[in-house]
Amino acid sequence: MYVAVKGGESAILNSYELLAAERRGDPDVPELTLAQIRQQMRLAVDRVMGEGSLYDEDLAALALKQAAGDQVEAIFLLRAYRTTLPRFGYSVPIDTARMALRRRISATFKDLPGGQVLGPTYDYTQRLLDFSLADTADAPTPPRVDEPLPATSPRVTDLLGEEGMIEAERPAAGDPAPTDLSREPLRFPANRATRLQNLARGDEGYLLALGYSTQRGYANSHPFAGEIRMGEVPLEIIPEELGFAITIGQITLTECQMINQFAGSSDVPPQFTRGYGLAFGESERKSMGMALVDRALRAQELGEEITSPAQQAEFVLSHTDNVEASGFVQHLKLPHYVDFQSELELLRKMRASSAKVGAGDTAIPGVQPSAEREEA
């Protein structure tokens, strides 16, 4: 009954070579360079960095090339690679107020200080296929004005906070270090810092769908996009041999501050509540989905009834990770010959006993009618 699960080595090796050839495609077409992927597929690179939870454009571009554009596979490659690198430490918490803005919009205030800056957005494009891109052309030069944006622009939530109209976001006493899901397993109940780390590397499609579900009435929290900003922030670390902070480069981030309907208590007058999204690169959809889900997951803290999937931390956080999800779904392709044989045997026994009942006392004990039909 048991069939040995050995063999297939040469088939596997040949499949590697076939995969490499399929990845390359028609050799008459020039091979993609990593610089081309980084420059011209930058949003794909950003998603791989975000969900791969590793900010490195070169490695993300390489992963995309190796995965032939399969994003979840590329994310898996990046996650696997990061486990080979030593951890040097933690950054100084980045400050999004210091962001060199390339985009900044608010759906709540028309005339906000610093203005509405559309930046490089698809929002106002017609979504008509541009057939001129089918041919190569000279690089366009974007228009420029003489006066740059203000060096810093206040966050919309900070402006509302000055009036006390929105709940304050302050560190807890002593500004404690958060638990790190790359070091410790996810445990419940998960505090907000843990939830935010989980969501930050979560699958964009999953967060989008859950966020969408809250808008459709499953835990509606009446969200407004208070502010979305995108641009570069300095990345600072404190090397132990120096003892003071230095900037080691900059990273691009997209931040979404979602403003939601009210909460209040006997101590606090009614005020707007918040959902927060932050993602590597230009990842607006991801950061908005994250902000909606962050807010939904605060249901218990804000005294709301938990009625919907997006509010259930154990359900939401256990299924955000597309590397885990992909692995568990795809493991079904691995040999399950023994498991399946035992189920087959069980089914035969069930059928045999039901046939026995149907046939009254005439069946001979120990003889399984189905066994006669078994082949091989």
Partner: protein
């Protein structure tokens, strides 16, 4: 535009903090150019490795709502190295990303900048031009973004 995104050179450790940051933020091509000039003059320090370039990770932290509790956003790759000259001075290089050569050049300039005889010259001929180039690049990008700033007009509805 005031370059507000880097440490203040007037602060404690300010000058070294400033040059290490500018060197790390500089495009590698520009840094190579300054390296070639300095090397041609024969005045760069002779250094030995204390730690050869090594790639690793730093966990990027952020704050909920921008100002609240800390959380771990995700990791970034970092390359670091350290070198020493005959006087026992230690130059260190930390750069985001995986480029060993960049980390090496940062450490080499950091070492040279600790030499009182070279410091003001390198600050003027390397660090200041790097800072100016960085601010100019940032300003160019900001002026492009500013061109997409929305100007609203009040529309008065006509009475029928």
């Amino acid at each position: 535009m005031k370059p507000n995104d880097l440490p203040d050179p007037a602060a404690e450790h300010g000058v070294r903090q400033h040059w290490l940051s500018e060197l790390a933020m500089a495009p590698l091509e520009l840094l190579e150019l300054f390296f070639e000039k300095m090397e041609a003059s024969g005045r760069l320090p002779v250094a030995t490795w204390l730690r050869k370039p090594q790639s690793g990770l730093t966990m990027v932290r952020a704050r909920a709502g921008g100002t609240g509790m800390q959380f771990n956003l995700g990791e970034a790759s970092v390359t670091r190295c350290a070198m020493q000259d005959g006087m026992g001075r230690v130059g260190i290089g930390y750069v985001r990303g995986g480029n060993s050569r960049h980390a090496e050049l940062v450490a080499l300039f950091d070492l040279a900048l600790q030499d009182a005889a070279l410091q003001s010259e390198i600050l003027d001929s390397v660090v200041s031009p790097l800072a100016a180039a960085r601010v100019a690049a940032r300003e160019k990008s900001s002026c492009e973004a500013a061109a997409t700033r929305v100007a609203f007009y009040a529309m008065a509805r006509e009475q029928q």
